[in-house]
Symmetry: D2
Subunit: 149 residues, 4 copies
């Protein structure tokens, strides 16, 4: 299986049972080895007491992007530590796009940056995530388990 | 207005319009100056593709606790940077409790730790949040705007 | 070997070859299982262009506390991700104390909070550190490798 | 004064009194608006008990890059919260380069990513820093105080 195809496969497998990402209305725009791009729309029930999107909404979108990107190589990966800076407020109807970039990948640890932005490329949140790569494979026998960096 | 009473007042005012915290089913157990304690139950639609609670769920609960605790002094506060470590998986039906502790408070910046745990005190997530304290008051004319540390 | 004795042993072994902690003038005040307490004095060559202690100084002290606390159980541990909030400026001659608290410990991952404060307990920095616990032992054959939380 | 010239001016002014950056042997390779690039060599007195560079060394280099980049616009900026992932070990003699990228800039808050890498571009540490932009100018009367994003 090619890298991009495998990534799409795993992402679909994860997404199909990811009830919360589905509730958020997340749409998978693109995927690849160490990569994922997701999109969603801010709805009324996602707002907090200030009338803007709850911090948990952008975090959740970015965290899904982290999960898809870090599992894309074929080995199951779990989040260890994540951080997010909210740089811009969001209101109902805003469209947001999360794009994951793999900053570093070793045998056990992967580090990712996820930028969340509006369609006009205005950055609304910056997320950094560190994952632990377990020994379990998504498709036993087929993984190439790359190590980069 | 006493500190504890004021904190409860502000928390109620925030919560009443916080549609996402309501969707999460968050229950406000306690509040005080620089303090808040929240509770919720993990539901099926909060699970991810691994069948465990999406990282965004514990983050969102902790982020609400941060908002309530950091706004409790009377001045509006906004999150600048937050980080979370997920230390334990959660399944459907799990009860989780978030408790905020104010680690530092200056005129402009507040730092909080929020521990998310199960009723048996097992820690499931550790959250650190830094807020910027704006000049806006929740109840203009009544705030004491304490500075600690 | 008792836990506290073992922790002191490992800390001494690490410190004796830790040239940078020695340059910082770090003094080990206390240690224990998952615990360490360190002290140092801010010197002129530790200041930055604002005439206050460089952020790297408090970070380094806290990072040494993280290393000593997380290695204290007998298994070698390496830092994965750390964060620090600088809440108070420091000038030449200031004494600072770092105290590590183990927030969570599993087979592979440990999470620690380190508070850096002045002798009057004013908090000057708040540090959170996540470590990966390797399979290597400090004293092969003697470790109990506890798992908490 | 042009942006790049002003940045170089401020960086020089900061560096000339930054005793710790000088002790580290930091060399300023490049600077610009929201940008800085620094270089240093790992010396024996920078090693920890494992015989590799203490985490405080890469942190300090990255923190200096944050200070230079975030002050470059003309307004004094102070670090609020920083995080670092150490992805690769360093030994005596290793050359490391830190390059700052401005991810977001508003009136009060700036967010920066600093990559620390070896000359062969291998990433050894990933740093994210958030600063608070004070109202003080480096050169009163001359600043343009840009707001981006």
């Amino acid at each position: 299986m090619e890298n991009k195809e495998k990534a799409a496969h795993i992402q679909k497998k994860m997404y199909d049972k990811d009830w919360f990402s589905q509730w958020l209305g997340i749409e998978c725009i693109d995927s690849g080895a160490g990569y994922s791009k997701l999109k969603m729309v801010v709805r009324k029930e996602m707002l907090n007491g200030f009338g803007i999107a709850h911090g948990g909404i952008t975090y959740s979108l970015a965290d899904s992007a982290l999960a898809f990107a870090s599992n894309s190589h074929g080995r199951m990966a779990v989040s260890i530590e994540t951080s997010i800076s909210h740089t811009e407020s969001l209101v109902e109807g805003d469209i947001i796009i999360a794009e994951a970039e793999e900053l570093s990948l070793s045998n056990k640890i992967g580090v990712y940056q996820i930028k969340v932005s509006k369609p006009d490329h205005k950055v609304v949140a910056l997320f950094k995530g560190t994952v632990y790569r377990t020994g379990k494979e998504w498709f036993p026998g087929s993984s190439t388990s790359p190590i980069k960096n």
